[in-house]
Amino acid sequence: MTNVMPFLLKDTERPIRNRLDQIDTLFRLGYRDRQQEILEKIEQFGESADILSYFLQQVTKSHKLVNMIGAQCYLLHSGEDYYARLNFWLPKMASTDVIKRRVEQYFSIGVLHNHSFDFFTVGLLGTGYYSQFYRYEADDLDRYEVGDELLLSKTKSLKLCKGKALFVSKSFDFHTQFEPDDFSISLNFIPKIYDFVGSKDNAQLIVDPKTYIVQRKFLSDPKAPTRKEMALV
């Protein structure tokens, strides 16, 4: 994807652009070694809605609209060394009806999974979705196939409220998400080139949240994320 930046910037847009450039530099220097610095930078995006108006203006200037990459996410920006993906989190619905099930199906609710890409995330709007994290500690994830049982350890549960940021490691960090109390938006920063860790085949696994049995396995490019892989939040 081409960069959406070659447009004249207004004074109000310049500080956001500068911060995005600084994040690009940190990614280029090695995002795993600079996790804390990146987290501190992206936390600042939660302080105002400026980043959203900035992105909207960039998108409308560039007329690049075919950037919706999943039911709940939108590829809003491509830096030199990262993608910025915006995620919508729909509020919990009161009834347990057919619509609720449909929403859960398409909006990655209650799906225990890992990712084939590392990412940083920050809450931008709303009280934030709930997430339960699990960790797979061993270095042999590649051997698991559909039907195998994973040994996962529950780690932390959190709510990604506005301004909260965290790093999620590909392969090892599993998580399941639950609807926020109100409409929420989070922003991910996904490296274009991964630091090598653990898994060689870099698969994404979907796991039964009760039995930890692998339900689906998707093989992916071990070096860089694809549009399809980024569709699952």
Binding site: K10, T12, E13, E47, S48, A49, D50, L52, S53, Y54, F55, L56, Q57, V59, T60, K61, H63, L65, V66, N67, M68, G70, A71, Q72, Y74, L86, F88, L90, P91, S95, D97, V98, I99, R102, V103, Y106, F107, L125, G126, F183, I185, K228, A231
Partner: protein, 146 residues
């Protein structure tokens, strides 16, 4: 005093709820398939399918941009507001923007840029249909000509 104080938007600040059909249920837009987006509206009373609002990836993307604007403009920390207004103007110019997206833009702009909101409502009215009728009614309520 903003003339929009009298205007109660039908969306109820929820991504799904974009209007109130005749049976007092709520239109519910649900993304149809993960990689081929279609939005479908269901009645929350009867669960019947009411309509499919969008038919292309670009239209669906445009609608979500309007949603982002709507929620971002309501954030307490939305300051300075100029960027949001500029973004709204840009979004209204998108040929792919569906009327439901325009409606969200009008809602977003109502408290902060009423003239733009009225202009967008007039555009919606000119397109006719259910949402067009609602826009016309909103303009009448405001005492503004369509």
């Amino acid at each position: 005093v903003s003339p929009f104080q009298a205007w109660i938007p039908p969306s109820r600040d929820n991504l799904f709820r974009i209007g109130l059909p005749a049976d007092d249920s709520i239109w519910l837009t649900v993304y149809g398939e993960r990689l081929t987006p279609y939005f479908h509206a269901y009645s929350t009373v009867t669960f019947e399918h009411l309509f499919s609002a969008f038919s292309s990836h670009t239209v669906a993307s445009s609608y979500y941009l309007a949603e982002i604007l709507f929620h971002a403009s309501k954030a307490p920390s939305c300051d300075p507001i100029d960027g949001m207004i500029d973004a709204a103007r840009g979004l209204t110019q998108l040929a792919e923007m569906p009327v439901t997206g325009l409606w969200k833009i009008a809602e977003a702009m109502a408290p902060i840029e009423p003239d733009l909101a009225v202009s967008v409502l007039r555009t919606i009215t000119s397109k006719g249909g259910e949402v067009g009728n609602r826009a016309e009614a909103a303009l009448q309520k405001l005492g503004v000509s369509a």
